[in-house]
């Protein structure tokens, strides 16, 4: 069965005054229907760049050097703006990091949902209101009729995020891209939001691409996790497999650095070095400067994918 | 995050700011030219700007008189050069005074808030209630025609601009972490404002000052144009344009074009400098 989303060998650069930033290199990832895939990485890993590229919303300074992104039958990188606009909001939806700034501050929340419905759903004008209220109720916002009349600044951060999810889910998309949807929210609100996304995934077979820096969050909610480092996708595996048997040294160190209920301060591992400068000449494996297992073989291009099992891929010459 | 390996030096930054932007370099060149005229105008001028010569009235530009002569036979080139001192001097004085005044009042209003903010707000509102040029006219008319009064009038009408700007910038920074850290470090309110906040708002304010210079020059020239302020025969760009304007129909274009061009050049130069200054002064943009 062909995947819903197929990213193949995507390489993307940003042309800036200070040089060319090699933001993504040879990234390949697929998302099947109904599955929640987490893209985990630290700041500068390229995960947000990837998310925007999938939506066709990349920055004007971005230039795709090679690779493709296929969503259903649509070639996202080659599609016209009209084709993309028709798909966005209807089959492909995105929720962003800071909910209050992602919503239009001068329009009522209900109107913003109605906008999406008007654009993408074939509804009579009289039905729009009702559907907007239903969309809010589906994300368990109490008193949805009243909330429809509210402006974003009157709502809390968690509430705004729910509104954004309601807008994203209004037309029952096939794929939801969630870019750090719970950063800045309380942990109790985070749990509710993530449960919502997961429940929607299960009930409508909606696929989700969850971008996050929180490995623990990805661990609880994702079926598969892809780990990114400095523009490279370094490992992809089923969640349990990744968390218990990580194959890439970076994944292992990331796990060791993430506090869990069982960690101790002395046991926390820090990853030596820093992210490489993406404008400079980079080695074949971008983690080599920080990796204890580095051998001369690691510098040979191209860096191949090793399949430890059909579902567990790692991009390393000396996997664990 | 790019990390420089050498500590910063002023010359490095100047070189970088100006090297990056050719326009800034051009603006600096023009500024130097104007400064030269302002400082050494009397020496550089080929003719005495005040000597009249009835026989040589309204001569078009030629080898002897580069910009031609005016209605009283005075050499326009000399007058334009010498006028630089007065125009620039008035504008700079006014801008410096209103900058300092606006900075002090606006920063106090923005930091302390309360009655201080309200009082200063009322003052600013009062000034801004008038069409500013008309207010300047009124002030000069009331106080008397003199260079000092032009400076005072220009200072007053520009004050709200700096005051509001400073107030806004201080307001934004008042709640920032480093301000609280400064208080934790034993700084009292005034020390926080002067040592910790104001250095951060100086770069944007300097940019505003440079842009404002253009207006200040036009203001001073404008007042002279309508007959307030500087009196003939003092060479000043505004008066010269005013005198030359009567010759638009009869075709002696050189009597108003050259002083007008000098004004344009000066305003243009300061507007360009604003950007260059920002690059130079903002620590974040330093390499």
């Amino acid at each position: 069965m062909t995947a819903l989303l197929a990213i193949e060998d995507l390489s993307l650069v940003f042309r800036t005054r200070h040089g060319t930033v090699r933001a993504l290199e040879d990234v390949s990832l697929s998302v099947e229907r109904g599955e929640i895939v987490g893209v985990v990485g630290e700041s500068g890993s390229g995960k947000s760049v990837l998310a925007y590229a999938v939506m066709g919303l990349q920055d004007a300074a971005a230039q795709v050097q090679r690779g493709s992104i296929r969503f259903g039958g649509l070639d996202v990188l080659a599609a016209s703006e009209q084709a993309l606009a028709a798909v966005r909001g209807r089959e492909l939806a995105m929720i962003f990091q800071s909910p209050r700034t992602a919503l239009n501050p001068i329009r009522k929340v209900g109107c913003q949902i109605e906008d999406i419905l008007r654009q993408h759903a074939a509804l009579r004008r009289s039905d729009l209101r009702r559907h907007a209220i239903n969309a809010l109720a589906r994300v368990r916002i109490p008193d949805p009729e009243r909330r429809c009349e509210a402006y974003p600044f009157e709502l809390s951060g968690g509430m705004c995020q729910r509104v954004m999810i309601a807008m994203a889910l209004a037309c029952s998309p096939f794929l939801l891209i969630a870019d750090e949807p719970t950063t800045g929210l309380d942990v109790t609100t985070q749990a509710v939001i993530m449960d919502l996304i997961r429940d929607q995934s299960r009930s409508t077979r909606m696929s989700t691409l969850l971008i996050t820096h929180d490995l623990g969050l990805a661990g609880e909610y994702c079926d598969r996790i892809a780990v990114m480092h400095a523009g490279h996708l370094v490992e992809v595996a089923a969640t349990e497999e990744l968390l218990s048997r990580p194959a890439h040294p970076y994944t292992q160190q990331l796990l060791a650095a993430t506090p869990t209920p069982r960690s101790t301060v002395g046991g926390l591992v820090s990853i030596p070095g820093q992210l490489p400068d993406l404008r400079a000449e980079l080695p074949a494996c971008r983690f080599s400067a920080r990796c204890r297992r580095h051998v001369p073989l690691c510098d040979e291009r191209p860096l191949p994918w090793t399949a430890l099992s059909p579902a567990h891929l790692v991009r390393c010459r000396v996997p664990l | 995050m790019s990390d420089a390996t050498l500590p910063q030096t002023l010359t490095r930054n100047v070189a970088h700011a100006f090297g990056e932007n050719r326009l800034t370099l051009a603006a600096v060149a023009i500024l130097l030219l104007l400064a030269l005229c302002a400082l050494f105008g009397n020496v550089l001028a080929p003719y005495d700007p005040l000597t009249t010569d009835g026989a040589a009235r309204l001569m078009p530009p030629n080898a002897a008189h580069l910009f031609g002569t005016d209605a009283l036979g005075r050499d326009i080139f000399s007058r334009v050069i010498v006028a630089a001192r007065l125009d620039l001097g008035m504008a700079i004085s006014a801008v410096v005074l209103s900058f300092l005044g606006g900075l002090a009042l606006g920063a106090a209003a923005g930091y302390f808030g309360g009655w201080c903010d309200r009082l200063i707000g009322r003052l600013v509102d009062t000034i801004m209630a008038f069409p500013l040029f008309v207010l300047a006219m009124g002030i000069v008319a009331a106080l008397g025609n003199s260079v000092l009064n032009i400076i005072i009038a220009t200072m007053i009408i520009n004050l709200p601009f700096y005051c509001r700007f400073a107030r806004g910038e201080v307001n934004v920074r008042r709640e920032m972490g480093y301000v609280e850290a400064a208080r934790m470090g034993g700084n009292r309110s005034l020390a926080v404002l002067v040592n910790h906040i104001i250095p951060n708002i100086l770069p944007p304010m300097m940019v505003q000052a440079s842009l404002n210079m253009g207006w200040a020059i036009l203001n001073a020239a404008g007042l002279s144009f309508i007959g307030l302020g500087v009196r003939p025969p003092t060479p000043e760009w505004g008066i010269m344009v005013s005198e030359g304007a009567s010759f638009i129909i009869s075709g002696e274009w050189w009597s108003f074009v050259f002083p007008g061009a000098a004004l344009v050049l000066a305003v243009f130069c300061f507007n360009l400098l604003g950007d260059g200054l920002r690059d130079l002064l903002d620590p974040r943009r330093r390499i």
């Binding site: 942990v187 749990a191 | 972490g177 934790m184």
Partner: protein
């Protein structure tokens, strides 16, 4: 309030040690204008707590619980509406915060702020940022001595010497965090309040900074009040944790006791909401809804009423007080 409870809510089990910092019935109210003219917002409401010398206490709670306000009160950046704060037994609230800034006691409580980018003055070099409190609070003028102290602080936090002449924008996130810590410890405080010191940092940098903080505490003998929304992080460093909700302390206990046997329903919900890969796919009870309004709250209703899964009419009729349950474990709930 019961003396035993008062001690338990703050002090170490058993010994009656004079706490380093003690807050009694600390309250901060803000007048609200606009639609609710005359109403008061209770940011912090009758909070008692104590921190012993050398102790690391965690403070957790969600947005709007009042922990930022409490931090500012304890750090004496703002004045309380009522209540007292004692430092080594002496009342610091006897003077206004403006006066306190000029006293030598100012150096004894320092804060490491949340966002290292915002908490460093962009026009100050690292040296000046660390030297300023030394000049102001300790009156150090001699250039040699000043430089020595600044370098010492930088060494303690592992900041390389060549970075000292740089500006904040030339440093990485982790380096900025170190500068913030160096600035705070340079004046040798007795209490360091850390307000979410690692939440803006990547996980790998966070690990380094947490180890540094732990190491500093044992080396310098400083007490910590560690404020964070990340319970996993708080668990690493703190021996005791205080949980706040809507301006009040709802539970306080030694760390393992809190995580293993929390008694307040809010604490339980908080702990249950931490993402746990081991419990993937489980449908767990969630705390939904929003907190009640902190404006003019009913003094006879539990603040958690309306969101609490086990609330009854009794909760709306009487405010639960902090009661002692076992060793240094206090809970404010009728059904604990």
């Amino acid at each position: 309030m019961d003396r035993a409870v008062a001690r338990a809510s703050g002090a170490l089990p058993g010994a009656a040690v004079t706490p380093l910092l003690e807050a009694r019935a600390l309250t901060k109210r803000y007048p609200i204008g606009g639609r609710h003219k005359g109403a008061m917002l209770y940011a912090v409401d009758a909070v008692d707590l104590a921190i012993a010398p050398g102790e690391c206490v965690g403070l957790v709670g969600e947005s709007g619980c009042g922990k930022s306000t409490l931090v500012r009160l304890l750090a004496r950046l703002i004045d309380p509406s009522s209540g007292t704060i004692l430092l080594d037994g002496k009342e610091t609230t006897a003077v206004s915060q403006a006066t306190f800034t000029t006293l030598p006691e100012r150096a004894r409580i320092q804060v490491v702020f949340q966002d290292p980018t915002e908490s460093l003055n962009p026009s100050f070099r690292v040296f000046d940022a660390i030297a300023d409190p030394l000049r102001r609070l300790l009156g150090l003028r001699d250039k040699g001595k000043l430089a020595m102290r600044v370098h010492h602080a930088a060494d303690l936090v592992g900041l390389p010497r060549e970075l000292i002449q740089r500006y904040p924008h030339q440093l990485s996130g982790g380096q900025r965090a170190r500068v913030g810590i160096a600035r705070a410890i340079a004046v040798e405080p007795s209490l360091l309040i850390l307000d979410e010191p690692t939440s803006a940092l990547d996980v790998s940098v966070q690990a380094v900074i947490l180890r540094l903080l732990d190491d500093l505490r044992t080396r310098l003998g400083v007490s910590y009040l560690f404020v964070s929304h990340d319970l996993n992080v708080v668990r690493l460093l703190c021996s005791r944790i205080i949980v706040m909700y809507l301006g009040r302390v709802v539970e306080a206990a030694p760390t393992e006791v809190l995580f293993g046997a929390a008694r307040h329903p809010y604490t339980r919900a908080l702990i249950g909401a931490i993402p746990d890969p081991a419990r993937r796919g489980e449908a767990r009870p969630r705390l939904d809804g929003s907190p009640r309004s902190p404006i003019d709250p009913d003094p006879d209703t539990c603040r958690f009423y309306g969101r609490c899964p086990i609330a009854t009419e009794r909760c709306a009729a009487a405010m639960p007080e902090l009661t002692l349950f076992g060793d240094a474990h206090v809970v404010a709930c009728h059904f604990a």
